[in-house]
């Protein structure tokens, strides 16, 4: 006579299976909630990043610009970029010249003095052009946003430490 070798169902195995299913379902629900909230809340910044000019898209969102204001600001921005590029070129050339002069001697020569003066002039000119652009942009914005823009951009440019940390 053979005894039946069929495994008998363990008592309590069904609640355990159900418990495991609930456990997994809860974890999936948590992951889904995380994904939904994260993707929804970051949708606007992801759209900005994927755009053609993310920094201008940011400006529009940050200072609540309408389409007309944004169009005008974008035009001013595009018009200013060649000026900025030219200033960059002059500053780079002047920095290179100053570097060569400094490497060639161990005293402050008249040429070095002239190069330092020229560097200062370039910085002043650069700041004047930037300031003109900032004022022009701020005038395009609603008054309150324009004031906020000026305060922010001046803090980031004129009042920034240019790498000078205490």
């Amino acid at each position: 006579m053979f005894k039946s070798l069929t495994p008998t169902k363990l008592s309590g195995s069904d609640p355990m299976k159900r418990g495991l299913l609930i456990l997994v379902f809860g974890l999936i629900a948590a992951a889904a909630a995380y994904g939904c909230i994260y993707l929804t809340c970051t949708a606007s910044v992801r759209n900005m990043q994927q755009g053609d000019k993310p920094e201008l898209a940011w400006l529009k969102a940050e200072f609540n610009l309408n389409d007309a204001e944004f169009k005008r600001v974008s035009e001013l921005h595009v018009a200013y970029l060649p000026q900025c590029a030219e200033m960059c070129r002059q500053i780079d050339a002047q920095n290179l010249r100053l570097k060569q002069l400094l490497a060639a001697t161990n005293r402050v020569t008249s040429e070095i003095e002239a190069a330092i003066t020229e560097s200062s002039r370039l910085r002043s000119e650069c700041q004047r052009q930037m300031l003109e652009h900032f004022y022009e942009v701020s005038r395009t914005m609603p008054p309150e946003q324009g004031r906020r823009y000026l305060a922010w951009v001046q803090d980031k440019t004129f009042l920034s430490d240019y790498g000078m940390k205490q």
Partner: protein, 113 residues
């Protein structure tokens, strides 16, 4: 033909056990000592954390109220972590884009090629 079925073994074993005799004397208080050791083992064996978790999953979690509470808590946790990380991402990206705007306009902060 099978020769090693469990029943055959059981029968053989029973037969041997019935015939088996020993003259060796048990140590004094043998039975009492065995029970003491068994009780000591039971007392010292604390239930493991996994056993406790398995017990909770098998008995507590399937209860409807507990299921609802468990899923609700995980939903809230997932949503809260998602919102917190989204907030951090937004702050970081906004800061980066603001810096890029300034770098485009300020030659002294511009990223040179």
């Amino acid at each position: 033909m099978k020769t090693d079925e469990p029943d055959n073994h059981d029968d053989a074993l029973r037969k041997v056990l019935k015939e088996w005799r020993t003259d060796a004397a048990l140590p004094p208080r043998f039975q009492e000592n065995v029970w003491q050791r068994i009780e000591l083992m039971h007392a010292s064996a604390a239930p493991s954390i996994w056993a406790a978790v398995a017990h909770w999953i098998g008995t507590m979690l399937p209860r409807p109220a507990m299921t609802v509470a468990y899923v609700a808590v995980l939903l809230v946790v997932g949503a809260t972590v998602g919102w917190t990380q989204a907030h951090q991402t937004n702050t970081r990206v906004n800061s980066e884009l603001g810096a890029r705007y300034v770098q485009e306009l300020d030659p002294y902060q511009a990223v040179r090629q």
